[in-house]
Amino acid sequence: MSEPASQLLDIQRRMAAAVMHPLTRSETMPRRRHDGASNLREADAIIRPNDRLTSFERLEIYNRQYWYRLYTCFEEDFPGLQAILGRAKFDALMRAYLTDCPSESFSLRNLGSRLEAWLDQHPEHLGPKPMLARDMVRLEWAHIEAFDSEERPRLSAEALAAIDENSTLRLQPYLRVLALSWPVDDLLLQVRTENGSSASSTNNASTSRKRRHVRHVAALAPRPIHLAVHRHENSVWYKPLSPEEFGLLSALIAGKTLGDAIDVALTTSSLPEDQRPAFLQEVFATWAMLGWFTT
């Protein structure tokens, strides 16, 4: 780190280092940080004590606030992952992820944006059923993206009628397609229904970490599924897709022309040749009705 350019920057860096450092297991501020630095010494150096609290205790209030706020937000965003891992493993993952990937956005909405990539580097946090946990993370992040991503104007009937095999179709920014190894959609719907949701930014302080009901997953068997995570009338929906639909949508999202997308999607399909025109007509009609094609 280069030499601080100002006293203000120096104070803010030193306070942030203490505030953003993980709490102990008993949710107190550690006296010594992982890098060996003393929080006691740092607190004494920058924070005034008063007649009731030491410098360390005053700094600790902010250290706790930071983690309570992030824990609450992360738990709201990934209740399905918590249900799969159980509280202890989820807590360990959450602490490690948020330590490695602190928020770099003004919005808490983006707190989990790097979780899937981080888990690729830290598979030890995925528990005994790593594919199940990973699938849930992908679905939960897709849900967040589908909830408030942009909705562009729908492609008109005239424009749709004019497309040919060389056309490139744009799909709604809120649409996500997923190929998953486990049927996590039903599980997530159950968990979200039980927990409710109220994720939002506020400017109040928390007296404690808000804990949510954790529903443990007892028996769930792997089964490959394809899903479109999308928004309809401002609610998020999980629409099951056939492998051909998934291939077609993935190719269109990747920017392939309609002709190439159909080729890619149907090359390995077991769908009989004579049924393919009707299949294509039906899925395009459904997707157009859902407003997935956009300008």
Binding site: A5, S6, Q7, L8, L9, I11, Q12, R13, M15, A16, V19, M20, A45, I46, I47, R48, N50, D51, R52, L53, S55, E57, R58, L59, I61, Y62, Q65, Y66, R69, L70, C73, P102, S103, E104, S105, F106, S107, L108, R109, F147, D148, S149, E150, E151, P173, Y174, S198, S200, S201, T202, N203, N204, A205, S206, T207, R231, N234, S235
Partner: protein, 304 residues
Amino acid sequence: MPANRFNSFTDYGVGIGLRIPHYQHILSRHPVVDWFEIISENYMVDGGRPLEVLDQILEQYKVVQHGVSMYFGSADPLSREHLKRLKQLVRRTKTPWLSDHLCWGSVDGRYTHDLLPMPYTWEAVEVTAQKIRQVQDFTEVPVVVENVSSYAEFHASEMTEWEFLNEVVERADCGILLDVNNIYVSSKNHSFDPFTYVNSVPAHRVAQIHIAGHSKFEKYILDTHDHPVLPAVWRLYARAIERCGPTATLLEWDDNIPTFEEVHAEALKATKFLKAAAEAAPNTATAAVQAAATTLLEPAGAAR
């Protein structure tokens, strides 16, 4: 006094914070509310239900934007993406003024999502005032800054909090969102007289007032926004209204949120103070507001 250039010469009454648990009630029952305050960041998204609800609210109510993460006091430069999205929202809501906090919360591009206290130094005055001016210039609406609750003070501080606030708003030429609950909380945590603070604020710059509840612990008080407003805070509010006149007032309730009616009823207690101040002749305003306070606070105690 209350309608000033810092709140675009509006004369808003008593509002409440727009919160998710109340969406359904508001949209289905259309209760009479002077205005709603929204947390800007919750609506700085590209689409979906948050904006749908906001648009429905905007059809029927006056809305003022309140931010929680601009961090005027951070040494970091302002985020262009944040500013861009904020301005988009300003155009959508047509907010007559825009508030955020006199605090810091990010450093080296990392966000704490907390309202961290400032070291009250001359360097911090310069940095903070400059960034407020930048936001004001970019968004093209008056910016007002809110004093925060704090639990720590810095060795480096060179002035009191109210002196710092006054220096910042003078240099930025901006308004003040005076949070009397935050003043009370900080006064207990740092052992100063909250009336000294309220009496030191430049009244002509106060564009809005916040009231809220807090939680008392053994050694400190926390700004939890999960209770009704306590009598001591009402007394500070009465003094603020005496000095500033009938100012747009908002109740914050962010945790353990009760029914809409309960929150609104708590907020409307402020009406008594505002009416008293508005109806009184200038030379009798003090007595009128104090009388209102006494009525509201009995038997807890008379207003100071």
